[in-house]
Amino acid sequence: MGALLVTVPLLLALAGPWFVPDDRTRGGPFMPNSWLGTDFVGRDVWHQVLAGGRTVVLVALLATLLSYLVGVPWGVVAAMSRPRVVDDLLMRPLDLLLAVPSLLVLILTATIAGPGLPVLVGVVTLVNFPDVARIFRGAALEIAGRPALEAMRLQGESWWRTSIVYPGRSMVRTLAADSGVRLTGALYLVASASFLGVGVPPDAADWAVMVDRNRVGLFLQPWAVVVPAVLIVALSVGLNLVFDRALRAEARS
């Protein structure tokens, strides 16, 4: 079930752009004259759906990935560092970032940097990574105190094994439990950014943007909203179900 929910949107997102014809025609907005009708500027909704998944998935995935790439080492280094000053130096500024409402961060940074996918990825990462760092710092603190790690250090184990392999393996569960929700959150942020008019060009071919921009035509031509929205929800629910299952399987082994 979960796998199916993930596969359809993912396939559409990844392969879709190859099936978009080059000479796309334009008609009036919200016309029901083709399969899924037209959107708010008269483009074929089906073509937009094909073209618009890659950015959503890419932005959400990249931003989530980047949040982890920055946040996990950040938190782990803070937790494992011997001079506790390092911990403070790393974590205090993040508290600060958490104290500025994410909305303000989103509006300000996106306004300063202007729209564009890299900006959006950056902003979503910026909003997410302090939280990631905090969670993984907590996890790493617990791991750092484990006798198993102390035993490895007594064995003279390499830095690689004590600081990367073992903590990494031990944090897989935390990571899996966190990533489903975080990815969903990233998808949501991308969509909200469009509503606030930051981060994405207002007529980008992007499922999240489509939901926002086509909502005015909900009564005339619902597919322009419904199809991308359903795809996003299917992707989120599917991913979470898959992660849930993986977690249960991991717990059993």
């Binding site: 006798p147 198993a148 102390e150 490895m152 007594l154 064995q155 003279g156």
Partner: protein, 490 residues
């Protein structure tokens, strides 16, 4: 007297393996039955069956009849107390389930378990291990149970606490409660039990009156169990040797509280120093200072006259190899995701650059009775005793000059314990042995150090300290241990 507990042909099966196989016994009010046997022999499974419970995946059959209410004191009392609730609230809740004035019921239960009433305002974490045990006991006593099942009530307790627990249980029994005692501690059995059932791999090996079974065992297994039990004997003096490990004025704290104050000690090459003391007296902290896991201590630790860096990170490979440590809790000191063998062998690889570490590790594991099939499993597939031995091999593969062993015999049955002690006795290196069990200390130690609330209160040759104890704590520890060996007088 009609029995209040009647068990007939109890079987527990999990995954096609019988955990408990045809166990039968009966018990009347005011009497004590002890189930003894090695770790994994089915004691807890039987105890749970009395409560009508079983672990997930275990199928229980047979007849279990209990007249009246049954109370249970689980193996780890700390885990049985809700960390979020104050004690008083829970007591009131339990009392409300029974007839009678709740305040009266609680007061009675507390008195019977010797819990001071002013503890009721505390949270569980604000109690010592012994107090936690008594609180759990008191909870079970609210509303007068007919039967009490106590699972390993003395494991990991120091002799004084252990004696207190025994006293409490004895007084409860004196009030007419039938007690089922699940333990591997034969001293406790002698002190409390009227009858003994010896289990081995889920089967009853031997059963009968305590005096009969323990003093005149019929079966070889029982005989071995009893014979393997060490006694506290005052050892003769051995000459002091050149000091190898020296501690000078070691002072350590956990955050604001000082847990070790100005401790100075020496251990000679090939000597065994035993560190004893009540629970929480700072023994583990002392060990961690020595091995470099508690780098913030004050004072100095020297090896062969040269100061050792405080922190593990600053120690060279040779220094790491020369001081090794066996953790108090073996299970948590292994990575659950890798096989035991691969983890054990790493010591030889990292600290001695051994080319054929795996073969070396296999050989040493075999020497302590762990075959290859066992060693290539992950830690979850090994029993506590097996893991304890694997942890010892892991440390020994470094060929240390000083080996620090923290409580490595608690939770083991006497047979397994005996084989481990033999191994330790044969070691060429200096050993720092932390133990609650003075019988073990007496068997191995050349010198004894007694800690009390972070202070070194007594330090000398084993003969002097155990033979002529001067500090009240030592006398207390020793007295209780001696007492424990005396048979129950009824």
């Amino acid at each position: 007297m009609t029995p209040v507990v009647h068990v007939e042909n109890l079987r527990a099966v999990a995954g096609g393996r019988a955990l408990v196989d045809g166990v039968s016994f009966a018990l009347s009010a005011g009497r004590v039955l002890a189930l003894v046997g090695a770790s994994g022999s089915g004691k807890t499974t039987t105890g749970l069956a009395l409560l009508g419970e079983h672990a997930p995946g275990v199928a229980v059959s047979g007849r279990v009849a209990v007249t009246g209410r049954i109370g249970f004191v689980p193996q780890q009392p700390a885990a049985a107390l809700n960390p979020v609730r104050r004690l008083g609230g829970v007591f009131r809740e339990i009392a409300a389930l029974h007839r009678g004035d709740p305040a009266e019921l609680v007061a009675t239960a507390l008195r019977r378990a010797r819990v001071p009433a002013d503890l009721l305002r505390r949270y569980p974490h604000e109690l010592s291990g012994g107090q936690q045990q008594r609180v759990v006991l008191a909870q079970s006593l609210v509303g007068d149970p007919a039967v009490l099942v106590a699972d390993e009530p003395t494991t990991g307790q120091d002799p004084i606490t252990r004696a207190e627990v025994v006293d409490e249980l004895a007084s409860v029994v004196a009030q007419g409660v039938a007690l089922v005692l699940l333990t591997h501690d034969l001293d406790v059995v002698r002190a409390l039990a009227d009858e003994v059932v010896v289990l081995r791999s889920g089967r009853v090996v031997e059963a009968g009156a305590t005096a009969d079974v323990l003093d005149r065992p019929r079966e070889p297994y029982t005989r071995a169990l009893v014979a393997a039990q060490p006694r506290v004997t005052v050892p003769g003096d051995r000459p002091a040797r050149r000091p190898r490990l020296e501690l000078h004025g070691v002072t350590a704290r956990h955050r604001a509280t000082t847990v070790l104050r100005d401790v100075s000690l020496q251990v000679g090459a090939g000597e065994c120093l035993a560190v004893v003391g009540r629970s929480g007296s700072g023994k583990t902290t002392l060990a961690r200072c020595v091995v470099g896991l508690h780098p913030t201590f004050g004072g100095e630790v020297r090896l062969d006259g040269r100061p050792l860096p405080r922190s593990l990170r600053k120690r060279s490979r040779a220094e790491l190899a020369s001081v090794q440590y066996v953790f108090q809790d073996p299970r948590s000191s292994f990575d659950p995701h890798r096989t035991v063998l691969s983890q054990v062998a790493r010591t030889a690889v990292r600290l001695r650059g051994s080319a054929d570490a795996t073969a070396e590790a296999l050989a040493e594991l075999a020497a302590v009775g762990l075959d290859e099939a066992t060693a290539t499993r992950r830690p979850a597939g090994l029993s506590g005793g097996e893991l304890q031995r694997a942890a010892l091999v892991r440390a020994l593969l470094a060929r240390p000059d000083v080996l620090v062993c923290d409580e490595i015999t608690s939770g083991l049955d006497t047979l397994t314990q005996a084989s481990l002690l033999d191994l330790l006795a044969a070691l060429p290196c200096a050993v720092v042995l932390i133990s609650h069990d003075l019988a073990v200390v007496a068997r191995l130690a050349d010198r004894v150090a007694v800690l009390h609330r972070g202070d070194l209160v007594e330090h000398g040759s084993a003969g002097d300290v155990l033979g002529l104890p001067t500090h009240p704590v030592t006398i207390g520890l020793l007295g209780r241990s001696m007492e424990g060996t005396e048979e129950k007088r009824t």
